[in-house]
Symmetry: C2
Subunit: 480 residues, 2 copies
């Protein structure tokens, strides 16, 4: 949308958030007061203070960059969020909607009527419209599409036809294209006539008459070369380009690796159809690592921290339910050995140590493997080597820490054989943790799933049931 000049303020974002919260609280106090003292006079005073507060708050918001307003909206509980949202100038609605997280956006859209939504959406570019469309009411989308010209409508349709994570859904259409048979002087004059260049324009796209990409002209080269030269002499003729059906995460890695600012997107025939820019890629990099953290812990998606209790429950139930089943299995494993525990109750006290250390060690392994897989560092060629290393680490940990715990068990219960069983069980469970810590994410990946998905829940399940079985089994054989 329009370019906003970012000004540096000395206040940190945290400070600005604190100021807004402060104003909102003062506001609430005033409302409480006017509510309590219902005399006509106090009401008028209340109204006055009320209005003063709102005016001050509105002034604060007007001074802030849209991204900062978005940040403040995300950090506020629903009720206060909507108070602030209503104070934002209508012409900034669109910008801010594009900045907030999905879950917060939903709450804001729910608060707007069709008229406001239409006004906010009308200033957006085709790619931005496509981002927002799935969350808008159907008739608003319909009306918006009607209002677009043919090319724009086509672009929105095309962007919507791709997966959220495909390049085709991430690209924008704000490209400056030039021909290769003109001089740099002509290009410079052409740019001057444009009055404004799209954001993140670090290169111009060189296309032929059919729109096929012939190369890119980095602005840097345009500036340092003799204006008499032809574009074809100066351009880079074989630039990194992407296809609309490529995975966006791969594109983001390429941006990171090759330090790109923007890159062309071409169709099967080499025709230029859009471009990717670093800002979208940065968002993607952030999202990717976030979703890794979340899915390892067994959360379905990013949560608005002030989401309703019901939404939070839905986000967390799937993996809790899985965990319930695995915990039940572990419990039945112990049930198998109830006879042994009755005879030697120390087993009940010691068994969680075996399971717990196994879980912790397994989580370390699985975290490292998931990390390496996200960076594409794990291939079939090196799996067995990785496995050997993890097993070696576990073996040493088992002998050392298992030994320590074995001695402690002896000191507590005065039985050498109990100590030895403890050490052996710890070592075996750590080996199991290493084995599964490598195999679980790899198997998930081979099944085409996200290797981080519930990784923590699953490895803990294995080390719990496994740990109980190994320890109680060994104890039953050797101690009873």
């Amino acid at each position: 949308m329009t370019e906003v000049e970012v000004k540096k303020t000395q206040e940190s974002l945290q400070d600005r958030l604190a100021q807004v919260v402060e104003l909102l609280h003062r506001q609430r106090v005033v409302e409480d007061l006017t509510h309590r003292q219902e005399g006509p006079h106090s009401d008028r005073v209340g109204n006055l203070v009320h209005r003063q507060n709102l005016v001050e708050l509105q002034r604060k918001l007007d001074d802030l960059h849209s991204a900062d307003v978005a940040y403040i909206l995300e950090a506020l509980p629903l009720e206060e969020r909507l108070t602030v949202w209503q104070l934002v100038q209508a012409d900034r609605d669109g910008d801010i909607l594009l900045e907030v997280s999905d879950s917060v956006r939903e709450t804001l859209i729910a608060d707007m009527d069709d008229h406001e939504l239409l006004a906010a959406a009308k200033e957006m570019d085709a790619d931005e419209l496509a981002d927002l469309a799935p969350e808008l009411p159907r008739d608003v989308v319909h009306e918006l599409m009607e209002a677009l010209d043919g090319q724009q409508r086509e672009r929105v349709r095309s962007a919507l036809s791709y997966d959220e994570e495909q390049v085709g859904a991430l690209m924008d259409f704000e490209m400056v294209t030039i021909r290769e048979d003109v001089s740099l002087e002509v290009v410079l004059r052409y740019l001057r006539r444009l009055k404004e260049l799209p954001g993140h324009t670090d290169k111009l796209f060189v296309v032929d008459y059919d729109g096929v990409l012939k190369g890119v002209l980095p602005i840097k080269r345009l500036l340092v070369n003799d204006p008499e030269k032809q574009v074809a002499e100066v351009m880079a003729s074989d630039p990194v380009s992407f296809h609309p059906d490529e995975n966006g995460y791969d594109a983001a890695q390429a941006f990171e690796r090759y330090d790109l600012i923007s890159a062309p997107v071409v169709d099967k025939n080499g025709k230029l159809i859009g471009r990717l820019t670093i800002d979208e890629m940065v968002d993607l990099i952030r999202e990717e690592s976030e979703s890794e953290v979340l899915s390892m812990a067994g959360l379905r998606e990013e949560e608005d921290i002030f989401a309703s209790v019901w939404k939070s429950l839905r986000n967390r139930w799937a993996w809790l339910a899985v965990n319930l089943i695995t915990a039940f299995v572990a419990s039945r494993v112990i049930g198998l050995f109830e006879g042994s525990i009755e005879k030697l109750v120390a087993l009940a006290a010691l068994m969680p140590i075996v399971a717990g250390i196994g879980g912790n060690s397994g989580n370390q392994t699985i975290t490292m493997i998931v990390r390496a897989m996200a960076l594409d560092q794990v291939s079939t060629g090196n799996t067995s080597r990785l496995m050997r290393k993890e097993l070696a680490v576990s073996l040493i940990n088992g002998v050392v820490w298992g030994g320590v715990i074995g001695v402690v068990a002896y000191l507590l219960y005065g039985s050498w054989s109990l100590g030895v069983v403890m050490t052996a069980a710890m070592t075996l469970n750590l080996l199991l943790a290493a084995l599964m810590g490598v195999l679980i994410p790899m198997t998930l990946a081979r099944l085409g799933r996200d290797p981080a998905m519930g990784a923590s829940v699953m490895i803990t399940a294995v080390t719990d049931s496994g740990g109980f079985f190994i320890f109680l089994g060994l104890a039953t054989i050797f101690l009873l």
Copy 2:
């Protein structure tokens, strides 16, 4: 360093890695063969094939971007990594050293002699030298500093005087500065004389005669405005700028928020001393989320997946040791109730369910809070509201899932009261998990620590010991 033109190949990075591994394996087979058949003839054949393989591998590497070679080095086990490293052309050593991860860089530097290191480092800019210096042998650094001119040496010293995460250590010195009282035409001519612009130049820095930053001139504006205009008319006079002692992560967030490509760094007096660029910031964003994942799982730092076993152990021991102590505490909690378990052995089988579900739910909460804290969304103003929400979620989970497990316990052991105790213990432990899931990261942050640090280990410790105590305690009171 020098600008490399990135060309698009149709092969993915994974494919290229596979090719290198393939060549390395063929290489090893040849070596094995020549070793086994020690006749003079077979030896010569072996040598020939040997050399052919190496030549092919070298050609492959020469075609690759430094970032891609770095990726391949990271994905190879030590021995093969060094074989590849020796094949890389010496003049690319510096570039590649700057691209690889810290742990891999260490292994590469250990393989180079002083002469090679000096050659690699001599082509670097001051900021790159400063990045590398802490890992180089002391006498190499000394010799390098001697070889630098006064300004460069001063820059390296200054960069080294800051923390790795401060803006002063992240900035570079490749700025194009102009005066405000010249016309755009003059600026354009000046740029042409420079022959090459530094990477990521999206704006020129406008300074006065004392070097004080007056504003920035975005290249976009330079291109679209009338060349007759003065710089002062066109520049942005109050740009986002940073101080060298600011936190790099805050700067990275500002880059993300305001979609910056580069930004000036100024000292206390407003004098321009360097600039930040988006590529460094992207690396930082990636690192930040990585270190969050790792420290939650109780890993000290990023691990070279082929790190020696000894290194891996050091990386993981600290938190394993902590876990050992917490597991021991949990074990002693159970020890307190050995009498109860002897009387009702079903308790031993059921208690891990209470602890396990608590741990899982606590991990979900703590992950979400750590995430929100990293994004600065948690402030003192909203803590209590967050806490209420988490407690409500836990209460519902406890009643629902605890209820299910209670019924299962009844069906298994035929005791209603056991089922009720189970449900109550689950609910209480989930409430404990929610409470600590919010309090642990907040307390760590208030103590100035990383809120993600070992978060997973700590929450599990609380829900284990707490879960055992609550369940066995309730059982002892109500069932025996």
